[in-house]
């Protein structure tokens, strides 16, 4: 078990190094000048050169990269040219905000997807199954910005019962909860269908397994067959998929955050990327990878716990 985690941790560090280096290299391609970005378009060439020298930006990329690694390890995430301040001043609040959004969405997606997926999968090809399946295909097919458009049109413009943006500022009389409704709804709509389909597919497969037949022919009630024998097995395969949604929920929320002006991680990354703010991109990407790899490790570990075949081998 220790070996398992040691290996995974080594892999995590390795991945983060490779990813950060790739980003560093990619950003070398762009005709960007960090000092120019800090000083704005109307600064003179001299001013730009001075700052470049002061920040040591004229040194080779490798040296700067290793320096960056060192700084990052000591907790200094660098200076954002987009926000003109230390990345540390920005990123934590943004992550926190996004975590709120993600946790709520996750707390809805997981039980809902399991419920719908199992209900659909336990009676394949029934009317209920077809309805759930088609509905989940349709909702996942609508891009987030489109569902954002549809929902705001209905609830903000037409009915006027929800605020149009989610700035997490309660000053104007809209509660935080009311501000979270639409972003969460868009995320849930987009993601839920996908997870439902995964759970359903797994459930359908489990229902065709001979041990379900064994359970029925043992004389168990249908409900017991589903709850005692099917669900546990049906959850093994989608477990990883469900965990991977954390990944999407935390780092894939760019569109939702942009639509609703939500001050979160995704919008920070979008703005950072658009202005090629290398410090923000690097720090954000590292967190993204960290979340991705950690969820993966947790996923593998949980999968092991869920599946005795792997647990005892």
């Amino acid at each position: 078990m220790i070996g398992f985690f040691a290996k995974r941790l080594a892999y995590l560090v390795f991945t983060m190094l490779v990813v950060s280096f790739i980003i560093y290299t990619i950003s070398e391609f762009t005709p960007g000048d960090v000092a120019r970005k800090i000083l704005g378009p109307f600064a003179t060439k001299n001013q730009v050169e001075l700052l470049t020298e002061e920040m040591g930006l004229n040194r080779p990329v490798f040296i700067r990269y290793f320096e960056w690694v060192g700084q990052t390890l000591s907790g200094d995430l660098g200076y954002s040219t987009r926000y003109k301040t230390e990345v540390n001043n920005i990123i934590w609040g943004r992550l926190y905000n996004t975590m709120i959004l993600a946790s709520i969405a996750f707390a809805i997606i997981v039980p809902a997807s399991i419920l719908f997926g199992i209900v659909a999968g336990m009676a394949e090809a029934s009317k209920l199954d077809r309805t759930i399946s088609v509905a989940s295909i349709v909702t996942t097919s609508v891009p987030e910005f489109a569902s954002g458009v549809f929902l705001s049109w209905i609830f903000v413009i037409w009915l006027g019962i929800l605020p149009g943006t989610s700035t997490l500022d309660t000053g104007a009389g809209w509660s935080i909860a009311s501000q979270l409704v639409l972003p969460v709804a868009v995320m849930v709509l987009y993601d839920l269908g996908y997870v439902i389909r995964m759970v359903r597919a797994s459930m359908v497969e489990v229902m065709m397994r001979p041990y379900i037949r064994t359970a029925v022919l043992k004389g168990l009630r249908f409900r017991e067959v589903i709850l005692k024998h099917a669900v546990r097995n049906a959850m093994i395969a989608p477990f990883t998929v469900i965990l991977l949604q954390i990944n999407y929920l935390v780092t894939g929320v760019v569109v939702v955050e942009a639509v609703f002006a939500y001050p979160g991680f995704g919008r920070m990354m979008l703005e950072g990327a658009l202005s090629q703010d290398i410090a923000i991109i690097e720090a954000g990407a590292l967190f993204a990878v960290l979340i991705a790899v950690v969820t993966q490790i947790v996923g593998d570990f949980g999968y092991m716990l869920l599946n005795p075949r792997i647990r005892f081998s």
Binding site: K7, R209, Y211, K218, H229
Partner: protein, 688 residues
């Protein structure tokens, strides 16, 4: 056993079973009737697709979403199953009637411990307490001969071997003392020694319990061991039904006769008793012929009588116990086992060796992973294998799964490289040459026929392409020429030349295997390796393929290395036999030598385990306990020591046994002296 005083447990009265698909109704079982009394065991046999399993599940009233009983009645203890409510059905299932399934591994819930799954039965049916259920479960585990029942109770299914899993399933079925036990191919997929042990268990349990059994199998031999009565099914119809002895000694239906004629019985060989395959194939359920379903394949057919109206089921020769569905039954001649028509050919004289294998080792290195180079371990698949095959003869390699016989085939064909030792083909060393590096001449000389007909041909390519491409590669034939010759090869394997345009999915299993043989023949090989070429086929098709192999070998004088787990087939086909266990050859010799004393104790156990479809054959019962050790952990002494019933002592565990050799060239690797081995009785005796 068939006393009329006993009450009937199960009655099928003109049951008609259909599946409903988008294409419409598919009537799988048109009309079937039989009665099963208390304590009676009925074997239902037939080839795949004949509706045996459908009947089994119809009996359980569990046909899935698309299946339905569309006519007749199925009565369980006099009650119509169709009219039972869901609650009544639940009360019956698992309690009064229970089932044992074909694949025990997938029939057990992988995420529940074995004990939990067993406990459910008394809990739901008798409202037993947890503690009582636990006690019952452990008791029944003990009863089905599972070692250390408490530990098995705590284990998950995947931690048990196949035989143990099946014992668990049987235990589960027997827990509530059912009056009816339906067993659907319970031993298919198990190794022959394990199968024997499971069958033995069933026989033993029958003695102590009064459950009626419906035993479904494609293997007539297993039915003989278990059942009192046998029903032969063909295309959804019960064509013959009666007591085991009567049906086997005097089969009255042409299909039953055909079946018996195409099964090699341990003891018969290609020179004395040829196999007679049944021509044609089972008609699809959608295109059932009028009248007798078997008529198109029947040698006794009289179309005006057989293909007109419904064929009644009538007692054979007035025997009410022996029912036959054939209009010509009274006119059929008495049954005789087929005999060689011509003079018996002498065994081929030993000629120069085509293939010789010396001290062959094959070790797989199992890597430990990226960050863990020290964690690997070795898998010893072959160790010190020595064999020879003479030109024009058949060398059979026989053994249970995991014994290394397929690895041997892979090393011969170059799909794997030998770790040590020599393999020479006609004097050319090929053991350390992967197939990519073999010369074209070697590739032409050595070709292979594979086990699984569904994977032997690329489903994306036409038959013609598969063969022509081989001709182009091996014989450097131009496209047009290759296509012409491909058609010629189709004739050789007795397939219509037009089949070259077909895709594999349009062919039946036997036809695919013929194509595979044609492909192997394309280079004009001198040595053909056939790895279980018939094990996935139905018996009637199996016979045809075996005959084809024999015929081709005769015509071309090619050497055949035949790998099989089926001793009957090996006995029938081989000239020389090698018995493998855990990567080692434990016994080798001519077919006559190996199948007669002196036996290696393992060979002896194998022979005793083979189910023989002849109630008159008497077999010694040697039940092997324990499992085959893992190849990662081969015992240092005799590999068979852990299970050997004739173990001499500690020496077997510690010292590799010596190779004993008879003057006739018969080799046995054992610590027991040859003389002692020689004085045993033959395992198989025909009581005539």
């Amino acid at each position: 056993m068939t006393g009329s005083t006993k009450r009937p447990v199960l009655e099928l009265v003109n049951a008609r079973i259909s599946y409903f698909t988008r294409a419409g109704e598919i009537n799988v079982v048109p009309d079937i009737s039989f009665t099963l009394h208390e304590g009676e065991a009925l074997g239902l046999v037939g080839e795949s697709g004949c509706g045996k399993s459908t009947v089994a599940f119809a009996v359980m009233n569990y046909l899935g979403g698309s299946g339905r009983l569309t006519g007749g009645r199925i009565l369980f203890e006099g009650r119509d199953m169709q009219k039972m409510s869901a609650a009544e059905l639940r009360a019956v299932r698992g309690n009064k009637m229970s089932m044992v399934y074909q694949d025990p591994m997938s029939s057990l819930n992988p995420v529940m411990t074995v004990g939990r799954q067993l406990m459910e039965v008394p809990i739901i049916h008798e409202g037993a307490s947890e503690a009582a259920a636990r006690e019952r479960a452990i008791a029944i585990l003990k009863e089905v001969n599972l070692p250390d029942p408490e530990s098995v109770f705590e284990r998950y299914p995947h931690q048990l071997s196949g035989g143990q899993q099946q014992r668990v399933v049987i235990a589960m079925a027997l827990m509530s003392e059912p009056s009816l036990l339906v067993m659907d191919e319970p031993t298919t997929g198990l190794d022959v020694t394990v199968e024997a042990a499971v069958l033995d268990l069933v026989v033993r349990l029958r003695e102590t319990r009064n459950s009626a059994i419906v035993f479904i199998s494609h293997n007539l031999g297993t039915v003989v061991r278990i059942c009192d009565r046998i029903g032969v099914m063909y295309a959804g119809e019960l064509v013959e039904e009666g007591p085991i002895g009567k049906v086997f000694r005097d089969p009255r239906h042409p299909y039953t006769r055909g079946l018996l004629d195409c099964i090699p019985v341990l003891g018969s060989d290609k020179r004395s008793a040829p196999l007679v395959p049944i021509p044609g194939q089972v008609p699809p359920a959608m295109a059932r012929p009028r009248g007798c379903v078997f008529a198109p394949r029947c040698p006794h057919v009289v179309p005006e009588r057989c293909s007109v109206g419904d064929i009644p089921t009538s007692p054979a020769g007035g025997d009410a116990e022996h029912l036959v569905q054939c209009v010509r039954e009274p006119e059929l001649p008495d049954y005789r086992r087929p005999q060689a028509s011509g003079p018996i050919e002498a065994a081929i004289e030993a000629s120069e060796p085509m293939l010789s294998i010396v001290h062959l080792d094959k070790v797989y290195r199992q890597a430990g992973g990226l960050f863990d180079s020290a964690g690997g371990y070795d898998v010893r698949a072959l160790s010190d294998v020595n064999l020879e095959a003479q030109r024009g003869t058949t060398l059979a390699i026989v053994g249970e799964s995991g014994c290394g016989k397929s690895t041997l085939a892979k090393v011969l064909t170059g799909l794997e490289k030998a770790t040590a030792g020599k393999v020479s083909l006609g004097g050319v060393e090929i053991g350390d040459t992967a197939v990519e590096n073999r010369s074209r001449a070697v590739k032409r000389q050595l070709q292979m026929v594979f086990q699984n007909p569904d994977s032997t041909l690329n489903p994306s390519h036409s038959i013609g392409y598969a063969i022509a491409r081989t001709l182009q590669r091996l014989k450097r034939l131009a496209g047009g020429l290759a296509n012409r010759e491909a058609r010629g090869l189709m004739e050789t394997v007795k397939l219509p030349a037009d089949f070259v345009a077909r895709k594999p999915r349009q062919l039946s299993g036997g036809q695919k295997q013929r194509v595979a043989i044609a492909r192997a023949l394309a280079g004009g090989p001198e040595l053909m390796v056939a790895d279980e070429p018939v094990s996935a086929l139905d018996v009637s098709v199996q016979a045809a393929i075996i005959n084809l192999l024999i015929e081709i070998q005769r015509q071309r004088g090619a050497t055949l290395v035949f790998i099989s787990h089926d001793l009957s087939v090996v006995r029938y086909l081989a000239d020389r036999v090698a018995v493998m266990y855990l990567g080692k050859i434990v016994e080798a010799g001519t077919v006559e030598q190996v199948f007669a004393p002196p036996y290696h104790p393992y060979t002896e156990a194998l022979l005793s385990a083979v189910p023989i479809p002849d109630p008159d054959v008497k077999q010694k019962r040697i039940i092997l306990e324990g499992n085959i050790p893992s190849v990662t952990n081969v015992p240092p002494g005799c590999p068979f020591a852990t299970r050997c019933p004739r173990k001499v002592g500690p020496i077997c565990d510690t010292t590799p046994p010596p190779e004993l050799r008879t003057p006739g060239g018969h080799r046995i690797v054992c610590h027991i002296p040859l003389e002692e081995l020689t004085v045993v009785d033959p395992v198989v005796k025909r009581a005539s």
